[in-house]
């Protein structure tokens, strides 16, 4: 595509440049963290630790991508933490029943898509606020996870499955590959396709988008299906990584996803957000956790610090915008 000629013209818009500054400032924050942690502990910058951070961040990045889509439409998806657990359990049950690994994964992913579709239908046709609809499915799906397992994790999963989360390819953990591929696909969808444009438009002005002839119902349901699909992928990775499907997995992850998106520049009021920003935002959180761990900070202190970082990030953004 010959875009070199048109890019400079488009850049006269303030919007893009602001998004660019958001990306740059998130990247600078990440870099600053890396520098600080490296100075306090040289082991931090080792290849092994960096891959470790990426590995730890992968599930959060994957769900945060879905959450970013949802936030851009001015919605929220609280069900993704539960979907992580339950999709893993659904896949595990299939595998324990002797089904092929690929089929089991597919069914697990379909489960996530189905929960997303239910969220979308409740919001579009049930006219429920996204917060309420997805809070309802969050509880329901978590309950389903507990019921299906009777509260006991399902272990003994086939090797063909667990290697997703335990093996490396070219010395890079497999889940990092999966994360990168999903980030590229969904980053492309958001930035370069009709569905992506409609996602932004709905968040900017839902009514104007509907009156422009956009099939807003279908697009909104699709967005929640994306979120469910990505949450299910995170579920596969996490289940494979710990070699068992636990009904309590992913508890509270939905908020990490919101935090990553928001640090990366998404607005809970809709209309704003970028996948590269979200990836950086998730990396900021993962780096903080890892660095604080290495320097021996208590996990309780970590929570305090991460909370403060989220507030600061959004505060700085607000401040800059009012300027």
């Amino acid at each position: 595509m010959n875009q070199t000629a048109v890019e400079p013209k488009i850049r006269t818009g303030k919007k893009l440049s602001r998004q660019a500054t958001q990306l740059i400032s998130t990247a600078i924050a990440l870099l600053a963290l890396v520098v600080v942690f490296t100075l306090s502990n040289p082991n931090f910058i080792s290849m092994m630790n960096i891959l470790n951070i990426l590995k730890q961040a992968s599930p959060i990045i994957i769900i945060a991508i879905g959450q970013t889509f949802v936030l851009i439409t001015a919605g929220i998806d609280l069900s993704i933490g539960s979907v992580i657990a339950c999709s893993g359990i659904v896949a595990a049950i299939c595998m324990r029943a002797g089904w092929p690994v690929l089929i089991a994964i597919l069914i697990g992913l379909l489960f996530g898509v189905a929960v997303g579709a239910i969220n979308g239908l409740l919001i579009v046709y049930g006219k429920l606020p996204p917060f309420i609809a997805t809070m309802g499915t969050m509880t329901t799906v978590r309950g389903l996870a507990l019921f299906l397992t009777q509260g006991i994790p399902i272990g003994n999963l086939p090797k063909g499955f667990t290697q997703i989360g335990t093996q490396r390819t070219w010395n890079i953990p497999n889940q990092v590959f999966i994360m990168v591929i999903l980030a590229l696909i969904f980053g492309f969808i958001l930035a370069k396709t009709k569905t992506g444009r409609y996602t932004y438009a709905m968040g900017s002005n839902y009514e104007a988008t509907r009156l422009s002839g956009v099939n807003v119902n279908r697009t909104l349901i699709t967005v929640y299906m994306f979120s469910g699909f990505l949450a299910a992928w995170a579920g596969m990775i996490m289940t494979a990584n710990v070699i068992s499907a636990a009904p309590t997995a992913g508890d509270g992850y939905e908020m990490d996803a919101v935090a990553s998106s928001v640090i990366g520049g998404a607005s809970t009021l809709g209309g704003e957000g970028l996948i590269p920003g979200t990836v950086l935002g998730a990396l900021v959180i993962a780096t903080l956790r890892n660095g604080l761990n290495l320097s021996g900070a208590s996990p309780f202190i970590q929570k305090i610090i991460i909370g403060i970082v989220i507030i600061t990030a959004v505060f700085i953004d607000r401040f800059r915008r009012n300027d």
């Binding site: 488009i10 818009g13 002005n205």
Partner: protein
């Protein structure tokens, strides 16, 4: 005591890249209405924002009652008795009239609110204005015009001497405008000074004592209204002679393009029928609340229909959603551009392409070069003033925003375009551009439906006029048999 309530002397203000005001003078005497007019982007709102403390001036002097004053913030201006009644009203819908009037400065008895005094005080203000309202009524239950009166009451309850009204009549019916003018006369008698901003120049004759015209940040003229007339003011505003305010093109109407039969929708639209012929503009006139916008929305599929049929070129079409209307070639320029017409935080080109995505995508993938080409063509065609296709729509003036809303429907071939108040709140120059565009569409054989609350433009542009009242069609007139009196008679038939 100075002769003037306020004097703004040699005020200049620059924003990055623009000189918004260049040594502008303005003054206000007690007991007068001083109209401030100019095209969108001329600098009149900047001037008013400087007087009310929203912006600080770069140069110049502000005298209030003859004393030099500096307003670092809006609060300081309020303390000096300056109050703005905004176009968008700033009231809490869930609170009562009295609670709104005294919000933030409620009368207190020791620690507790003195409800009784608050209600009495509010009642006294309403009586002063001759407004028949109960101060305990919830503001959300009032009409826009009554809410505006509450705002005015709130202003005078703070002892504001200088009241700035920004497009106060844009959402009012003719009757309500009369009521507003009565109140303004009360304010004048009490010695308040009123700065009156309006695009509706024909109102000025009824209300303005003096008029100041601003163009491109420059003070052009300050005139006694009795020494001037509308044409002269327009000339000053646009800096050129507008050949015709309403550039009507006579045509011979052909066969019927579009027909609505016995349409009903909700409580607002009852048994509405009308048709549009080839080569004519059909005007729909009526008062606020007559059901015109609701009719348009129901036809377009924005709201559900309860009954009735719609025909396009003699064939019945069924429209349940805007998507279906657009697929059949029926487009709609909605009444409220910010609420229904634009994704205000998105760039110009994305707004233009939003309903036309299939033309700039290849298997779902957006081709940015095609988008930019489409938007550039639209910008040229409608002479939209924007620094570039990537400019955020929020940063355009009202008239240019409206052109973007119109422009997004000029890409695909249209059969019928429904214009709902397409010229509301935009300047004279942009209005004429939109009129010319409607004429162009009508020449191309596209059905043009034109809803407007401004009778002069309906009379000036429409070839046939349907009048609505209380959700029903009360008249279907040829332009030659219509005039303001006749239309008003039909528009108030059931009242």
């Amino acid at each position: 005591m100075s002769e003037y309530l306020a004097q703004l002397l040699d005020i200049s203000k620059s924003f990055p890249g623009v000189k918004a005001l260049d040594h502008v003078n303005f003054d206000l005497r007690p007991g007068e209405v001083h109209a401030l007019v100019g095209e969108n982007g001329s600098g009149k709102s900047t001037l008013v924002k400087i007087l009310s403390g929203v912006y600080t001036k770069d140069e110049g002097t502000i005298l209030i009652n003859g004393e030099e004053t500096v307003f670092p913030n809006p609060r300081a201006a309020q303390d000096k008795g300056i109050c703005i009644i905004h176009q968008e009203l700033n009231l809490c819908r869930h609170l009562s009239i009295a609670e709104n009037m005294y919000l933030g400065r409620e009368p207190k008895k020791i620690l507790f609110l003195d409800q009784k005094k608050q209600i009495e005080d509010a009642q006294a203000i309403l009586d002063r204005l001759n407004v028949d309202l109960d101060p305990t009524t919830r503001v959300g239950d009032l009409t826009v015009s009554k809410q505006q009166m509450v705002e005015i009451g709130k202003a005078i309850s703070t002892n504001a001497r200088i009241i700035i009204m920004d497009e106060p009549t844009s959402a009012l019916t003719v009757k309500e405008i009369d009521e507003l003018f009565t109140i303004i006369n009360v304010l004048k008698r009490e010695g308040h000074g009123i700065i009156y901003i309006s695009h509706r120049l024909e109102e000025l004759a009824a209300i303005a004592d003096r008029v100041t015209i601003i163009r491109d940040g420059q003070h052009i003229a300050t005139l006694n209204y009795e020494d001037t007339d509308q044409e002269a003011i327009i000339r000053y505003m646009v800096g050129r002679e507008l050949k015709e305010k309403f550039p009507r093109v006579p045509t011979n109407p052909g066969k019927t393009i579009f027909e609505v039969k016995n349409l009903s929708a909700g409580r607002a639209v009852k048994d509405v029928s009308f048709s549009v012929r080839e080569g004519e503009i059909l005007g729909i006139a009526g008062l606020m609340g007559a059901g015109r916008t609701e009719t348009i929305r129901a036809i377009f599929g924005a709201d559900p229909k309860d009954g009735g049929q719609v025909f396009l070129h003699g064939k019945e079409i069924s429209i349940h959603r805007p998507l279906e209307a657009i697929e059949t070639g029926v487009f709609c320029v909605p009444e409220d551009r910010k609420k229904d017409g634009l994704c205000i935080s998105m760039p110009v080109y994305q707004n233009v392409t939003l309903p036309n995505m299939e033309m700039v995508t290849d298997r779902g993938v957006v081709n940015t070069a095609k988008e930019v080409a489409m938007a550039s063509a639209t910008i040229n065609e409608l002479s939209i003033r924007t620094p570039g296709v990537g400019q955020t729509v929020k940063n355009l003036s009202g008239g240019n925003q409206q052109k973007v809303v119109v422009g997004k429907w000029l890409v695909k071939p249209a059969k019928v375009i429904l214009f709902d108040e397409p010229t509301r709140g935009i300047d004279v120059g942009a209005k004429v551009d939109i009129y010319n565009l409607m004429n162009e569409l009508k020449k191309q054989g596209i059905g043009v439906v034109f809803v407007s609350s401004e009778l002069p433009e309906i009379l000036g542009m429409a070839d046939r006029i349907v009048v609505m009242c209380e959700g029903r069609v009360t008249a279907d007139l040829d332009a030659s048999e219509a005039n303001q009196e006749v239309i008003m008679q039909y528009a108030t038939q059931y009242m």
